[in-house]
Symmetry: C2
Amino acid sequence: MKVRIGIDIGGTSIKLGIFQDASNQVFLHQKWSTAAFETAPAMVTAIAVWIKQQLTSQDLALEKIGIAAPNGNYQTGQIEFAANLNWGDIVPIRALFQAEFDCPIHFDNDANAATLAEWSMTDPKVEDFVLITLGTGLGAGIISNGKLVHGANGFAGELGHVIIEKNGRLCGCGRRGCLETYVSATGVVRTAKERFTKQGNTSILFNQTTELTARDIYEAMLQGDRLASEIFQFTGETLGFALANLAAITQPAQIVLAGGLSRAGKYLLEPTIQSFQVQVLPILRDKTIIKISNTDPNQLGILGASLL
Amino acid sequence: MKVRIGIDIGGTSIKLGIFQDASNQVFLHQKWSTAAFETAPAMVTAIAVWIKQQLTSQDLALEKIGIAAPNGNYQTGQIEFAANLNWGDIVPIRALFQAEFDCPIHFDNDANAATLAEWSMTDPKVEDFVLITLGTGLGAGIISNGKLVHGANGFAGELGHVIIEKNGRLCGCGRRGCLETYVSATGVVRTAKERFTKQGNTSILFNQTTELTARDIYEAMLQGDRLASEIFQFTGETLGFALANLAAITQPAQIVLAGGLSRAGKYLLEPTIQSFQVQVLPILRDKTIIKISNTDPNQLGILGASLL
């Protein structure tokens, strides 16, 4: 049986899926703790041993391996300066795997891999697609003409670092007003803290003694807290504005929202869509479907990697 | 001899070029006044007669025809609601030409055609490219992975309608703060008029009795007028900001500026580049070349059409 393998390297765990031929259903999967490996070569050796055992014992013909990692550069085949991995600044991941296997090895960053996975689920198929991943930051992958947009050096899709507010919030990149300082799990917490000084003393969030998280704000909103509700409204409106500007550039047929913050569901989606429709160029109105991903986040990484 | 034909339909004139095979040098060209044709079928008939005469008399084998027009929709093959053409709201231009010729007929808008032309001149070749045309408005064409980005309905590349200033200047599209209300020939005139109320009375532009144009501002700048100089500085800074945001999305290797306003040369280019470098995401700094087109604008349209 012909198979392809997807490997999703993350700060907490490394997930692997074996997929049968052209199927998107995982046939066999495995997981390792990232911290179990002190070096990248040790990690690759362990995974290669496991893969080879499976190939032999189950009589599988390996066609290709796809690997996704944070800060993965598809041009160099390296993980470059990933904040959540402790294997050095530059990890030549593609070369390490290529030394173990003869088949083609594809490598890209996790946002692009997730985009391919989510895009493979669109029905009917679209050629122009965007995935937005709302986690600690805001990641994005863009597909135009049915291909991932990598840009000249693999840095396309940095939608989280589009400046939407001149002299706005300070970003980790050193600049001010980047989209991800507003629209992300950390962004909503910043919105809450900013509003405390103005109107927060009537909110249940104001009296919280533990460190505030996006989840706390979400739960307060479900309990009817007005400030929490306004925070999600503002976050969606801000995202809708940024997506309206994005639509004027690549005009995607579909934009899918994934990642932890997207679990807020309609509370995030409704203000996003409303803001998009009001703010987008009139000829682009009603031409882009915006929705929340319903793919299992644990599957997204390995499936996307296997499709690279 | 095998040839391809490019036809550039504009509000003033219709230009046609015959190109030998893979060459980008025009072999034969012709021009008609747009106003000479009361209807689109009359225009197509006249041009078809001329083309057929040339093919016969010079023994040419026609491989393909490319046609570019304002508001040209490559999906429908129609000119749709073009403000400067008087042949009706919907002109089925591709079908009209196809009725006359057996060869493939390609059709797109003028901004995309010009982008292909300018892109064909890049040396070394790049796969990720943007052309910005600065005229009455701001048009753009985007190439990613070596292909024009059309978007889901052919409306990609509307960079002129990216909102860069919330509650900014009123745009012809009905919204506020679009890039082209600042960065275009009309945009610089608006900047001048806005500044007259604050600081203009010391400028030579303030006392001008005829209707102010971008050219007047340019000439005043060459004469050392301080306000005029500040206007170009501001225009470049604004463009650089918008291009920095664009780079975070599609990360082009090259951005070329064309159109009437680009003739301001270094007075526009220098503040644009400086602003881009300061405002772009640090990992994208020094990765995009921004320059002024040095292609003959009369050639750009027919060459681009022939490359569609």
